[in-house]
């Protein structure tokens, strides 16, 4: 009978809505030993996170490595391979003091030469984010002794401390990779790191088995003896495997199944905006400002007013997330502007804006142009909306909401690899929705959306084609300003301007939900070293 109830609840759970998450449960005192089985969504192919930004590789491999710095739950930098640091020359140089006594998994000593090699020969060549953000401004890396690393920049560079964790800059061993091709090196599937766990075996397509690194430089850590990364591509199967006791930890839970898991005392859940593939993401509607009709801010404002963003939160995300209240994620607390006047859902006002812009309601339900500059009178107000197939529900709501004010929306689902060239290279779209991940610093994930230099074929940059000299100047100034309290007002000014210009509509912030078995605790959901301090009752 109990099983029947579980099955019924599960089947119902596939189609039910969920409620916002409760607080993370209190943790027990740590104990040594035990194993943790983690479900991961894809075979990473290799285990070298320094040569890729692939979420699959980073999810599976970050526990094997360390960055110079870590990050706490607020996203602030913490010591990791570097025990301390100083900012010099107003942010044009950063000096790091490395920990003493750190060894690689093969017993070799970790030194500053490893850091210099990793950046110069691996990260700045193959890690897309590090190369794109740092490659043009880094003047050089000095290593005056084995425990000191100095980064010299051509100009003050603000975001560096947010770019040195195991996600953005994992440090690899020079003595392993030197002289070889980092992309095809045998060590990519049999890696040597400094991290809390080392690789025991990698069965392709099936699992990666990690064992405790007894020589880990953080005393007493890790607690677990073993971690098994089990590859389970289907998200529903992952949940079933958790319920069946086959796995202990999930990186994400589909919205419809969250209520069901939350109601079960055998599991714990926590929300986080961190993900190795991209953090602090906002689902964002882009307007193609090259289109004549969409150049009119009244039409853009009307669309923003017609979208009920609460409905996106409840019907698409099942409550997992929050309505975006500013162009910068609320998770970057120091840069997120509060109290902005973003257009709120108001269908009547949307209709008034459309009328004022010359889009009139006549016989048909769809509006037509009457005196719109550059548009032939009688033209129907029809726009296309490009989206990944996984974002189909955003499209459905978009069509429903805009249809109610007389705008016809033509949905065009495109695979990610097709979507990007269509939007950024061919610019063959009217509107689209993109999950823009702000990253740990606005300089990494926000600048690309608004700066005019970011208009071009490079994917997931300035999709709107937005140009504003003042915004460009403010971004440039913020990038050169190291002190956070001086950067905050600059980003506030940027957000005030773009909220008026509306090149985008910021819909919802989309954190993900981790779930794990209640007999385990100590997870750091906000970092790739998520199980460094985890422990499980036997």
């Amino acid at each position: 009978m109990h099983r029947l109830r579980r099955m019924t609840a599960l089947l119902l759970g596939l189609a039910t809505f969920t409620l916002p998450l409760g607080p993370v449960m209190a943790q027990d005192s740590p104990s040594r030993g035990g194993a943790l089985v983690v479900a991961i969504s894809a075979d990473p192919g290799h285990l070298n996170p320094a040569i890729t930004t692939s979420g699959a590789t980073h999810t599976a491999a970050e526990l094997i490595y360390n960055g110079l710095l870590g990050r706490d739950q607020h996203g602030d930098a913490t010591p990791d391979l570097a025990e301390s640091w100083t900012v010099e020359q107003s942010g044009a140089a950063y000096r790091f003091r490395l920990r003493d006594g750190v060894t690689w998994h093969d017993g070799a000593r970790f030194t500053a030469a490893d850091v210099k090699f990793t950046f110069e020969e691996v990260l700045l060549k193959f890690h897309a984010r590090t190369k794109a953000s740092m490659g043009g401004v880094l003047a050089g890396i000095d290593t005056p002794d084995d425990r000191t690393v100095i980064f010299r920049f051509k100009q003050p560079y603000a975001p560096l401390l947010q770019q040195l964790d195991a996600t953005e800059a994992p440090i690899v061993a020079r003595h392993i990779y030197q002289g070889g091709d980092p992309q095809t090196h045998a060590a990519n599937v049999n890696p040597v790191g400094t991290g809390p766990f080392k690789v025991v075996s990698y069965r392709k397509g099936a699992e990666i088995r990690l064992a405790r690194n007894a020589a880990y430089f953080k005393a007493g850590l890790p607690y677990l003896d073993e971690i098994v990364m089990r590859i389970i591509p289907d998200a529903n199967t992952q949940v079933l495997a958790l319920e069946n006791g086959e796995v202990d930890f999930l990186w994400g839970v589909p919205g419809p199944q969250q209520n069901h898991l939350r109601a079960d005392a055998r599991f714990r859940m926590a929300q986080t905006s961190y993900h190795p593939g991209g953090s602090n993401c906002i689902m964002t509607v882009s307007f193609n400002l090259d289109r004549l009709a969409l150049k009119d801010v009244r039409l853009r404002r009307a669309i923003a007013l017609a979208l009920d963003r609460e409905a996106f939160l409840s019907q698409v995300l099942f409550g997992e997330g929050k309505v975006a209240m500013a162009p910068i994620s609320s998770e970057i607390m120091w840069a997120h502007a509060r109290g902005l006047s973003l257009p709120r859902f108001n269908r009547a006002e949307a209709e008034r804006q459309l009328e004022a812009a010359g889009w009139k309601k006549e016989r048909d339900a769809i509006r037509v142009a009457r005196g719109v500059a550059g548009v032939v009178d009688g033209t129907r107000l029809a726009i296309d909306f490009l989206h990944f197939p996984t974002f189909a529900k955003y499209g459905e709501l978009m069509r429903q909401h805009l249809g109610a004010v007389g705008i016809d929306v033509n949905l065009r689902p495109l695979e990610p690899a097709v979507f990007a060239p269509t939007v950024f290279k061919d610019r063959a779209f009217d509107t689209n929705v993109i999950s823009y991940c702000n990253g740990p610093d606005p300089e990494i994930g926000v600048r690309r959306m608004y700066h005019s230099s970011q208009i071009g074929p490079a994917p997931f940059t300035n999709a709107a084609g937005y140009r504003n000299e003042r915004v460009d100047a403010l971004f440039d100034q913020a990038a050169r300003t190291v002190e956070r309290d001086r950067r905050t007002p600059l980003y506030r000014q940027i957000q005030e301007v773009v909220v008026q210009d509306l090149p985008y509509v910021w819909l919802v912030e989309t954190p993900t939900t981790r779930a794990w078995t209640a007999r385990c605790a100590g997870f750091k959901a906000w970092t790739g070293l998520f199980a460094e301090e985890a422990f499980c009752k036997r």
């Binding site: 099983r3 579980r6 099955m7 599960l10 089947l11 089985v37 894809a42 075979d43 192919g45 290799h46 890729t52 930004t53 692939s54 979420g55 897309a128 984010r129 190369k131 794109a132 490659g135 992309q183 095809t184 090196h185 990519n188 599937v189 069965r203 392709k204 397509g205 099936a206 699992e207 088995r209 098994v228 089990r230 590859i231 389970i232 591509p233 289907d234 199967t237 079933l240 495997a241 319920e243 069946n244 086959e246 796995v247 593939g277 991209g278 695979e415 990610p416 690899a417 097709v418 990007a420 060239p421 991940c437 990494i444 994930g445 690309r448 071009g456 074929p457 490079a458 994917p459 997931f460």
Partner: protein, 320 residues
């Protein structure tokens, strides 16, 4: 059937394989989607994407890429995987045993059980057994494997607690020897059941129909008139009824590879199907081409085996 015939058929495989390579190469390369973007994600700059495109040779004209690829294939080299950074042949070979185990077991199970059920139903025509088997076969044939897999996982695994829902082995223990074999069979049960269900239904219906038709033939009536038992008559008729099934089983070999994509994905079975799906998502073109080539050649070879089996089963069939 002579050795010359066999040799001629084997040689015929070569132009077919060459045609397959050409068509697949053009199809995969002209399909929308940028492998570099899939690999690099969304934060790279233009220089990075150009660097990676050059590294993979994707900046060269398509005919040149094709010439390079064909040259490699002729030498037995399927290239390097973009995602795995290792030889494609090795990447695929690592997954073949799991897929062979899954599809081979499902094919054998569905063939044997399908024939048995078909004979059982035909021998009890229009009785409750026949009606039940026919209805069951109809339903099983109509169910989409993806949906059936989800339901099987929820009911038979989670519901009874008797089966695991994912993987080839138990993640919690690294077993060896006969314990490992038992563990694999335990994990194999549900995916095989789901994959075999549709095939089983088809085989059952074909066997029943073929046998009923054969039992109405003159030779069957003659056999009965001569006093042979019904069991002997069925035995003789069955051999003729099975001939069309050989074609069906042979034709299903390729389908089993592609059909396994869904089942392997739902049950996290580490086979070629799962690799194919992830390679499509990441636009890992060398791996995709390698898999398509493998499946195509498998179908060609299985067709050849099917033709040869015909001659063995039917003395009237001769090859020259």
């Amino acid at each position: 059937m002579t050795a010359q015939y066999l040799l001629r058929r084997l040689i015929q495989v070569l132009p077919v394989a060459a045609g397959i390579v050409l068509i697949l190469f053009v199809l995969v390369h002209t399909a929308p989607g940028d492998p570099v973007l899939a690999l690099a994600g969304e934060h790279g700059d233009a220089a990075y994407y150009a660097f990676m495109r050059h590294r993979f040779g994707l900046d060269r004209p398509l005919p040149e890429q094709l010439a390079v690829y064909v040259g490699r294939v002729v030498r037995g080299d399927l290239g390097l995987s973009y995602v795995h950074g290792r030889p494609v042949a090795r990447v695929i070979a690592e997954r073949v045993p799991a897929t062979l185990l899954l599809t081979g077991t499902a094919l054998a199970l569905s063939s044997l059980a399908g024939v048995a059920l078909g004979v059982w139903a035909a021998c009890r025509r229009d009785r409750s057994v026949d009606l039940t088997v026919r209805a069951g076969a109809l339903v099983a044939h109509a169910l989409p494997p993806f949906w059936l897999a989800q339901v099987a996982a929820i009911t038979l695994a989670l519901g009874t607690g008797l089966f695991p829902v994912q993987g080839l082995t138990d993640a919690r223990q690294a077993l060896t020897g006969w314990r490992y074999l038992v563990d694999v069979v335990h994990h194999l049960a549900l995916p095989v059941l789901v994959l075999a269900a549709g095939e089983l239904a088809l085989m059952t219906r074909l066997t029943r129909t073929g046998l009923l038709e054969a039992l109405r033939m003159d030779y069957a009536q003659t056999a009965r008139a001569k006093g042979l038992s019904e069991r002997r008559v069925v035995y003789h008729a069955l051999r003729n009824a099975l001939l069309p099934l050989v074609t069906v089983v042979g034709g299903r070999a390729g389908m089993m590879c592609t059909g396994a994509v869904l089942v392997e994905t739902v049950f996290a079975w580490p086979g070629v199907g799962q690799l194919m799906l992830s390679s499509i998502q990441t636009r890992d073109i060398p791996v995709l081409l390698g898999i398509f080539l493998l499946v195509s050649v498998t179908v060609v070879v299985v067709n050849l085996v099917t033709d040869l089996t015909y001659a063995w089963l039917d003395p009237l069939v001769r090859y020259e």
